[in-house]
Symmetry: C2
Subunit: 374 residues, 2 copies
C-alpha cells in the first residue's frame, strides 16, 4: 500500500502510479477540491466520469462544520459523501492562517500550535500537529497532511525562516502523531516543504522534509500571491533535493499553464479550486486558453464550448448559447455544465501529459500546448 512506482520519465517529468486503499492513482494527477464534502455543484458520479482519480477535502472546513466526529460516525469522509476513490485531506494549516481570525483577532502562533477564532461564529479553537492528525484520522482520507505554517508570500527572510523551522518541528510531531493514531494500511502522511520565495530556505526545507520517513512529499506556500517566476524558480530549487522514489505534490496550484510547468519540473500531484470556481463565474478553458462565456459573442453561438471536446457537456451537445443563458440567469445547471467541462479539461491535460511522458516526448507536448495557448 502507498507504493509509488515510476513507469517512465521524460526530462524531469514523471509518469507513475501510487497505490492507495481506494485504488491506484496514475500520475501526474490533478485533484479537484471537495472542500465541504462536495465538489461544488457536482455529484460524485459526474466528477468520476470526468476523469477524477482523487479528491481533496479540507480539514479546517470539515472540522468547523459538520465536525470530524460526525463524519467518523458515518465511517469517514468516503462514506459521508459517497466517494469510493482516493481522498487527500489538507492539514487545515492554510485555512487557519487565511480564515481563522476575526477582524481584531489574528491567529496566535506559538511553537505548540495555533489559537484562532472560527470565521463562522468567532468561537475559539486550537490546532496543533497532534490535533490536526486526530481530525484527519476521523476524516479517514487515504493521504493526510502534516500540520504546517504557511507564511505569506511577502514574508521577510527572518519570518520565513522562523515559520519554516516551526513547520519542520510540526512535521516531526505530525509524523509521530500519525504513528500514534493512524493505521498505516489505511492512511499515509505527507509532510510539507515551506520557505516562501527564499532559495536557501526552500533548499534547507526540501532536505529536511525529504529525510522524514513518509510515502510522499508536499510543497506548500507556492500559490499565495508570489509571481509565476518565483513559483517555478522555487520548484526548481526544491525538486532536485527530493528523492525520486516519492510522489511530489504541489499544493493549491491548478491553472493549465502551472500544471504544464509543474509536471515539466518534476511535480506529480496538484490541487486547486480554479476549474470549478471560474466555471461558476462563466469562464472556461479550451486549447486556445481561458474564455469568458459572458462575452456577448457567445449569446447566439450555437456551437459547443470546444469542438472535439470529450467532456460530457460537449458530448451531450449543449450549445455555448444555452450555457451562457443559464449562467446569465444564475441557473445552477449552467455552473454544473461548465464545471464538468473545466474539470475534464484538466484531467485530460494530465492524461495527455502522462501519455507524452510514457512516449518520452513531454518537451514537445509542452511546446505544442503553448502553440495553441493564448
Amino acid at each position: 500500500m502507498f507504493k509509488y512506482k515510476i513507469q517512465s520519465t521524460s526530462g524531469k517529468a514523471r509518469a507513475g502510479t501510487f497505490t492507495t486503499p481506494h485504488g491506484e492513482i496514475k500520475t501526474p494527477v490533478f485533484m479537484p477540491c471537495g472542500t465541504k464534502a462536495t465538489v461544488k455543484t457536482l455529484d460524485p458520479i459526474e466528477v468520476k466520469q470526468a476523469g477524477c482519480q482523487i479528491l481533496l477535502g479540507n480539514t479546517y472546513h470539515l472540522h468547523m462544520r459538520p465536525g470530524s466526529e460526525l463524519i467518523a460516525k458515518h465511517g469517514g469522509l468516503h462514506k459521508f459523501m459517497k466517494w469510493d476513490s482516493p481522498i487527500l485531506t489538507d492539514s487545515g494549516g492554510f485555512q487557519v492562517f487565511s480564515l481563522g481570525r476575526t477582524e481584531n483577532n489574528k491567529p496566535k502562533i506559538t511553537d505548540d500550535g495555533v489559537e484562532f477564532y472560527s470565521h463562522l461564529d468567532g468561537s475559539k479553537h486550537f490546532f496543533s500537529p497532534d490535533k490536526a492528525i486526530q481530525i484527519q484520522k476521523n476524516l479517514g482520507a487515504d493521504i493526510i497532511m502534516a500540520f504546517d505554517e504557511c507564511a505569506p508570500g511577502d514574508s521577510s527572510h527572518a519570518y520565513a525562516k522562523q515559520a519554516m523551522e516551526r513547520t519542520h518541528k510540526w512535521a516531526v510531531q505530525s509524523v509521530d502523531a500519525f504513528k500514534k493514531y493512524c493505521d498505516p494500511a489505511k492512511q499515509t502522511i505527507y509532510p510539507i516543504v515551506q520557505g516562501v520565495i527564499y532559495p536557501d530556505l526552500r533548499e534547507e526545507s526540501a532536505k529536511f522534509i525529504a529525510g522524514l520517513d513518509t510515502a510522499g512529499i508536499a510543497i506548500g506556500g507556492l500559490s499565495v500571491g508570489e509571481s509565476k517566476e518565483n513559483m517555478y524558480g522555487m520548484i526548481d530549487v526544491v525538486v532536485p533535493n527530493l528523492p525520486d522514489s516519492k510522489p511530489r505534490y504541489l499544493m493549491g496550484v491548478g491553472s493549465p499553464e502551472d500544471l504544464i510547468e509543474g509536471v515539466y519540473r518534476g511535480i506529480d500531484m496538484f490541487d486547486c479550486v480554479l476549474p470549478t470556481r471560474i466555471a461558476r463565474h462563466g469562464a472556461f478553458w479550451t486549447k486556445a486558453g481561458r474564455q469568458n462565456l459572458m462575452n456577448s459573442k457567445y449569446r447566439e453561438n450555437l456551437e459547443l464550448l470546444e469542438e472535439g471536446c470529450d467532456c460530457s457537456t460537449c458530448l451531450a451537445g449543449y450549445s455555448s448559447s444555452y450555457i451562457a443563458h443559464l449562467i446569465r440567469e444564475k441557473e445552477v445547471y449552467g455552473m454544473r455544465l461548465l464545471s464538468i467541462h473545466n474539470l475534464r479539461f484538466l484531467f485530460r491535460l494530465m492524461e495527455q501529459a502522462r501519455e507524452a511522458i510514457l512516449n518520452g516526448v513531454y518537451a514537445e507536448f509542452r511546446r505544442e500546448f503553448y502553440e495553441n495557448w493564448k
Copy 2:
C-alpha cells in the same frame, strides 16, 4: 397524435394516456417546472430518472431571456435544453400579470392584449393571443396554452366576470392563431377556464372553454391565494361541465394533498415549482408529511430521508445528516439531492394514484394517504 384514452376510472378519478410527438404521457401526471429551460439545479437525465414524463417551460421568462427566436434557431426548447420527452409551455399570461410591471407601472390590459414592462430591465412589451401563440410556436412545446387573464383571487365578481369574458375572447383568438401558425401534428393547444372563486362564472367558463375545438382543457387561477376549500369547490363546479374525452390540467398546483384531491375530483395534469423550491430551502416530503431538514434533530441523523424510498438520493444511501450539512453550507449538491427526493415523491404519488385507479380503489388510496399524512 394528441389523443387521450381513458383506461379506467375510480369515482371521478381517471387513469389515461395522452399521446404526443415526444411520447405517451400516463395520467394522472405531475409536471415539474423548467422555468428558464432547466429544472432548477437538476440535469435532464436525473429529472427523467426520477420519473418525469413531461416538463413545463415558462413562455414569459424564455421570451424575455434568452428570447424565443434564439430557441427556435436551436430547433426549439427540446433541443435547446436537451429534453426529448414532452414539454408544455404556459401562455405567459400569469407572469405578465404577476411580474410584468415596475413599481409605478401596472400592466395595461385592453381587449387587444396587455402592455407591460419587463421585470428585468423595464423595457416595454405587448402580449396578445396572437403574440403568445407565435412565441409558443417558436418554443415548440408539444402542448401550448391559450393566452388568458388570470385575475387575482380576491377580485370582485364584476372584475372576475370581465376578466373571464376577455379570457374567452382570447381563447378563441388563441385557437385561431394556433391554426394559423402551428403544425397540429407537432403541437396542440389547451384553452383555460377562469372565473376566480365564483361558481356561476366557473360554470359559465367551463361550458364555454369545453365548447372549443381543442385536445385538452386547463383550469387556471386556482393557486393564487384562495383557500383550499375554494380551490376544491371550484374544481367541483368546473369538472362536471367538461367532456370526459379531454385531459384536464389544473395549473400551478403541486402539494401532495392538492394532487390527491385534484385526482379525486377528476383532474389529470398538474404543475408546480413546489417540490424543487422547498428543496432549496431544506424541506422534503415523506409519507408522514412535510419535514424540515434544518431541524436540529437531523444534524446527527445517519438515516435516509425516508426508509424504503426509491429516489436516487435515498438509493445512493446519503444520510439526512449529510444532506442537512450541505443545505446549511448552501452547497448546491444538497439542493439537488432534496429536489430529486421531492420530485420522485410526487411522481411516485401519481404512479400509485394511477395504479389505484386502474384497480378501482382510489378512494381507499386517498384514505390511506391521509392516515399517514400529518
